[in-house]
């Protein structure tokens, strides 16, 4: 849990608006949604930050901005030392291949025409790995992901959601990137697989000191994984603190309500009777 002096990625005052048309309301009128509203966040090498928060609070958007898939309307993205802001549309050449993302929806994140082997090999190929090394790497990854080797020959539509999600994770970590943004990577996995995948992240971090922005709803699952917790609400970061602190003394009221709502895997406690009013 050593935090290096120089940050790997700095997000400074990121703002991102989306416009959408509301035809009925005002003819041709537009309304602007601030998906991300002035967020600053620093990620160091070897660090895992868990980003939690309300759904629709802009977590995915922030993650996409961090890897450069979305252009912020305002604010700076500083990776290593080079800076990138909205003025340039293309991702800087030197950044390529150094950051990866695990997407929220597993079904569309793999090319339906490629076999799993192809998909997993793609980043390696792009990173210039030679063939035998690629094959070895893919075998290792398949072991990590607990998927049978013969799955390599199959196409995405032949897998369950959880399996696809694991493959997507495999692709993200394959070429040993410096930063991984994982958008709810374990949401569709069963608990024991979840734990194994999280373990995997830990292992990889130890091996390659990758930094990780982990977007999740499962507070309990990241508790022992994350170094820092970041909480978002309505496009703003309401709390950033070390994991221990967060779980023991949450600062923001929203953080507290989150922690309270986490279901306890014990039917004798905290069970929902249905008598409580269902509003939040």
């Amino acid at each position: 849990m050593s935090i290096e002096e120089k940050p790997l990625l700095r997000l400074e005052g990121i703002v991102k608006h989306f416009t959408s048309r509301d035809v009925k309301q005002q003819a041709g009128g537009k309304k602007s949604v601030a998906a991300v509203d002035g967020v600053s966040l620093t990620i160091h090498r070897n660090e895992i930050i868990a980003l939690v928060g309300e759904s629709g609070s802009g977590k995915s958007t922030l993650g996409r901005i961090a890897v450069g898939l979305e252009v912020p309307d305002a604010g700076k993205v500083i990776f290593h030392d080079s800076e990138w802001s909205g003025s340039r549309k293309q991702i800087p050449e030197a950044w390529r291949g150094k950051r990866q993302m695990v997407f929220q929806s597993p079904h569309s994140s793999l090319n339906p025409r490629h076999t799993i082997a192809d998909s997993l090999a793609e980043p390696l190929r792009l990173a210039g790995w030679e063939r035998s090394r690629t094959e070895r790497r893919i075998s290792t990854i398949m072991e990590w992901l607990m998927l049978p080797e013969k799955a390599l020959e199959r196409y995405p539509h032949q897998f369950s959601g959880g399996q696809l999600q694991r493959i997507a994770i495999g692709r993200a970590i394959a070429a040993e990137p410096e930063l991984i943004v994982a958008d709810e990577p374990v949401a569709s996995l069963d608990t024991s697989t979840q734990i194994q995948i999280l373990e995997l992240f830990k292992t990889i971090r130890q091996e390659t000191s990758v930094a990780c922005l982990f977007i999740t709803h499962g507070l309990q699952t990241v508790r022992w994984l994350a170094d820092q917790m970041a909480v978002m609400k309505s496009g703003k970061l309401v709390e950033v603190s070390y994991a221990e602190t967060f779980f023991s003394q949450p600062q923001h009221p929203y953080s507290r309500s989150l922690l309270e709502a986490v279901p306890v895997p014990d039917p004798t406690r905290n069970r929902i009777s249905g008598d409580e009013e269902g509003d939040g």
Binding site: T19, S20, R21, V23, K30
Partner: protein, 315 residues
């Protein structure tokens, strides 16, 4: 803002088409006055006189400038072949072709599109094979061929429908245009059938179709409300893209059914190098095309709200 951009775009396209057609027509190794003489001899004075009357004795760019200048005043010139005012000619011929197109559009929407939806909903099945082969058939059989078949069948053998012409406005017109519209619609609609088919087939694989089924929607509702909706975009874009084309395509039915329409004068004028007529017709076609496409562009965000302004046509 969008209005101005689409207007500007429309003007650019129509202007380019005009200039292009003007230059292309003159790139042909053809003297329109030779066609006018039509197989009779003419003395040099007569030819010189005609050349002057039609302004063909001017240098190329002077002619172009003159034409454009007159266009701005709404003057399309006169036909070299018939000496009629081109604008009047188009005014005479265009309405009937537009009616023909309207009829074909109705055929397209009543026959071709449903055909595509059915085929797409049953992709791979017997019905699909039957319907798509049928629509392909309508697409590739030349109209003069199918035309004469239906004329012989309905016009002379059964004597149910008139064999030719456009009839008088009103019910008579409907009766006269029935067969032409059917053939034109089926031919023009065959590509749409296929497009709709594949887009419906694709939609049928989506999980929202499963959701609709889970809601308890019946097969008809799933196909016609949920899957069909996904093909609207295709229908509107393809129809718009084909609008100008259809105007010219109409020449085939017009010729076969003895209807004097826009397509006929355009092709005839092109064959006779009747410069002003060809140019004016090309402008009309491009205007129809641009209008249809601008309309479609405007409709797109309503049809598919996912297309933000960001995506579509900044220019």
């Amino acid at each position: 803002m969008r209005i101005w951009i689409s207007l500007f775009r429309a003007v650019v396209i129509i202007f380019s088409v005009g200039v292009l057609i003007f230059l292309l027509m003159r790139a042909l190794p053809v003297d329109p006055l030779a066609t006018l003489a039509g197989g009779k001899s003419a003395n040099p004075e007569l030819i010189a006189e005609l050349r002057a009357q039609f302004g063909l004795d001017q240098p190329l760019f002077a002619q172009l400038g003159d034409w454009l200048f007159k266009l701005l005043q709404g003057d399309f010139g006169i036909s070299i072949q018939t000496r009629q005012n081109v604008l009047t000619m188009i005014g005479n011929y265009l309405p009937i072709t537009l009616q023909l197109l309207l009829g074909s559009l109705i055929v397209i929407f009543l026959i071709s599109v449903p055909l595509g939806v059915w085929a797409g909903a049953n992709q791979g099945g017997r019905l699909d094979q039957l319907l798509s082969s049928l629509s392909m058939l309508f697409g590739v059989v030349p109209i003069f061929f199918s035309g004469i078949l239906v004329i012989q069948l309905f016009g002379t053998t059964l004597n149910w429908l008139p064999t030719f012409g456009e009839g008088e406005p009103g019910w008579d017109r409907v009766v006269h245009l029935l067969l032409p519209c059917l053939l034109l619609g089926l031919q023009a609609g065959s590509s749409l059938t296929r497009m709709v088919r594949s887009s419906v087939a694709e939609a049928m694989d989506q999980s929202y179709i499963r959701l609709a089924a889970a809601k308890g929607a019946g097969r008809l509702r799933i196909v016609w409300v949920h899957a069909f909706r996904a093909s609207w975009m295709t229908i509107v874009s393809i129809t718009a893209m084909n609008a100008g084309y259809l105007l010219v395509q109409a020449v085939l039915v017009e010729y076969t059914f003895g209807i004097s329409g826009f397509g006929s004068i355009m092709i005839k004028a092109a064959q006779e190098s009747d410069y002003n007529v060809v140019q004016a017709c090309a402008l009309v076609v491009s205007a129809v095309f641009v209008a249809a496409n601008t309309l479609a562009d405007w409709l797109h965000p309503w049809i598919d709200p996912r297309l933000g302004e960001r995506e579509e046509n900044e220019l």
